[in-house]
Amino acid sequence: MAKSSLDKKFDQIRKREEEKTFSTKKRSRIVNKFLNNRLAVLGLIIFTIIILASIFAPLLSPYDPMRVDLRSMRQPPSFDHWFGTDSTGRDVFTRVLFGGRVSIFIGLGSAILSAVVGIAVGCYAGYKGGWIDVIALRISEIFMSFPQIILVLLLVSITGQSLFNLMAIFILTGWGGMYRLARARMLSLREEEYVQALRSFGLSTFTICYKHMLPNALSPIMVNITLSTAMFILTEAGLSFLGLGVPLNIPTWGNILNVAQDILILQNYWWMWGPVGIVISVFVLCVNFIGDGLRDSTDPSQQG
């Protein structure tokens, strides 16, 4: 069969189009961009090291973080006790490792869970609009305008101190930010023509907003998850330092820092609070570097 002239013309167009070699997949472009950001890579490396060290803490340290050893109280750093020991003879290095487990769990866990809540509400409300959106927006405003410290005091006095109460408070105060981010993305995405096309097929709201739209809203949310993780870890440290956070018998970075309340320790035993303070700062800094790297590499306005 003879080819129509239209086919021929299209073949020419196609040839021209194929000469521009197809770029590699979008994913690897983002990865490349991230890897080009030195600080972000450094952050990722240290972040990974700290997390691995916390996970494999029992392999890295012969000590039990809870065991009191009255014969070796308040020893300065030595070969046996890298970060020294505290007032009850517990090895500080071991406690920092084990404390990392809880602190990172609280930070990352609260950030991810508040993201899940925020995304679930924000995607639907942002896409649907109308009264659902208005109500969700008002509720988030209430939670976000409520001072966190008062919520903590309230909950601690009602239910007592516990790790999960603390996480619940973080999620209650944290989901609003994620919700607003997800909602704002959905508001702009829903005008995109591919969304209109999906609607023209009558696909269900759930399929359209959670399956087809959500992946395009994720990158700013990922950035926010990293930044919130850092913030929650700092808040945990601050609250535990004040004795309002996780119960003192569970080692967390904040609880280890708690000893610095004592002026005697603050002045004479720097190793009890110095190293853990540095670890917290370094970890938070790394998480922030990762967040910045993610933001830059996924920012569509900077894609080259």
């Binding site: 197809f22 209109q196 087809h212």
Partner: protein
């Protein structure tokens, strides 16, 4: 005998304008303000007008991508069953969603960047009962070949394609459920001129092969002349002229259409008419002018135009029906 596929009666789309702290409704954008229109099976009906006239909104109202505020959209099936679409429940719309489809203007936002072509297109097919993956791949592959692309492209991501390719993928999407009517909303406006012509030819070829009807939306009357059987000219949410394509160019009745036609660049110097320059932009559809909506910009406007709204009346040119809404037409009205 010509048979209608869609009958629009008094279709209005008004968007509320909200302002103030309490989001009070302070007015309405009269994006589409009372459109009566019949679309016949197998025709290409052009819908022209400057941007902001409400063409896209009318197209979306037909598919119920925006809900009409008022009026009726009737679909007439091949065996003459009439269904009013705007009053249907969402789920009862499904059989008609298959029949009515749309191709969008902007090739950059018309494809989901996070999914491969197959990934984006398979959900509609699944929904309309094509359960096996092989079958879905075959349908999409065949259609890709029909628009002169390779089957393998279905596993690629949108950013790997050029504007012309994306637009053809948009056509594949519109075709995948074997529709009867396709709204082409400025389907080629964003493309290079050379590629424009090819995509238009492709659309016409597909129309012939698949017995399609097109509602062809454009702001550019130079595209429509050879393409459309009839053309409707829209201004501020209303149809101001509707007639056979030839008659619109040769026996123009409405001053607005005249101005649009005079703006088309003509190669032939003998045919060059005096260009009528329209002053200003389309006025805001929130407070359309009193009287004839076109009067502030109309070169022929008289006193009556400022007070009385002209209605769409039926005339005859070349023995064809010719509708226009202007006070100054001195042809006999026919009923």
């Amino acid at each position: 005998m010509k048979k209608e596929i869609l009958k629009l009666r008094g279709v209005k789309v008004h968007f509320p304008v909200q302002a103030g702290v309490f989001n009070r409704v302070v007015g309405h954008v009269l994006a589409v303000d009372g459109v009566d229109l019949d679309i016949f099976r197998g025709e290409v009906l052009g819908l022209a007008g400057e941007s902001g006239c409400g063409k896209t909104t009318l197209g979306k109202a037909i598919l119920r991508l925006v809900e009409p505020t008022d009026g009726e959209v009737k679909y007439i099936s091949q065996d003459d069953n009439e269904t009013e679409l705007t009053s249907l429940e969402k789920k009862d719309m499904d059989p008609f969603r298959k029949k009515l489809q749309i191709v969008f203007q902007d090739p950059h936002s018309s494809l989901n960047p996070s999914f491969t072509i197959f990934g984006s297109l398979q959900d509609p097919l699944k929904k309309f009962g094509i359960k096996s993956k092989e079958e879905r791949r075959k349908i999409i592959g065949d259609l890709l070949e029909a628009v002169n692309m390779r089957r393998e492209y279905m596993d690629r991501y949108p950013h790997e394609f050029s504007g012309g390719q994306r637009q053809r993928i948009g056509i594949v999407r519109a075709l995948c459920l074997e529709p009867e009517l396709i709204v082409c909303d400025e389907a080629v406006s964003a493309l290079d001129v050379s590629i424009q012509a090819q995509v238009l030819k492709l659309l016409m070829q597909l129309k012939k092969e698949k017995n399609l009807t097109y509602l062809f939306i454009t702001h550019d009357l130079s595209v429509t002349e050879y393409l459309c059987d009839r053309i409707a000219v829209m201004y501020l949410g209303r149809i101001v002229e509707l007639c056979d394509s030839e008659d619109l160019y040769n026996n123009t009745l409405h001053p607005y259409s005249e101005a649009l036609i005079s703006a088309i660049p003509v190669a032939d110097l003998d045919k060059q008419t005096k260009r009528i320059v329209l002053e200003g932009d389309v006025p805001s559809p929130v407070n359309p002018p009193k009287g004839c909506p076109f009067h502030p910009r109309c070169p022929k406007a008289t006193d009556i135009c400022k007070t009385e709204v002209p209605t769409l009346k039926k005339y005859s040119t070349n023995g064809n029906e010719h509708y226009a809404s202007c006070h100054l037409i001195d042809l006999p009205e026919i009923s």
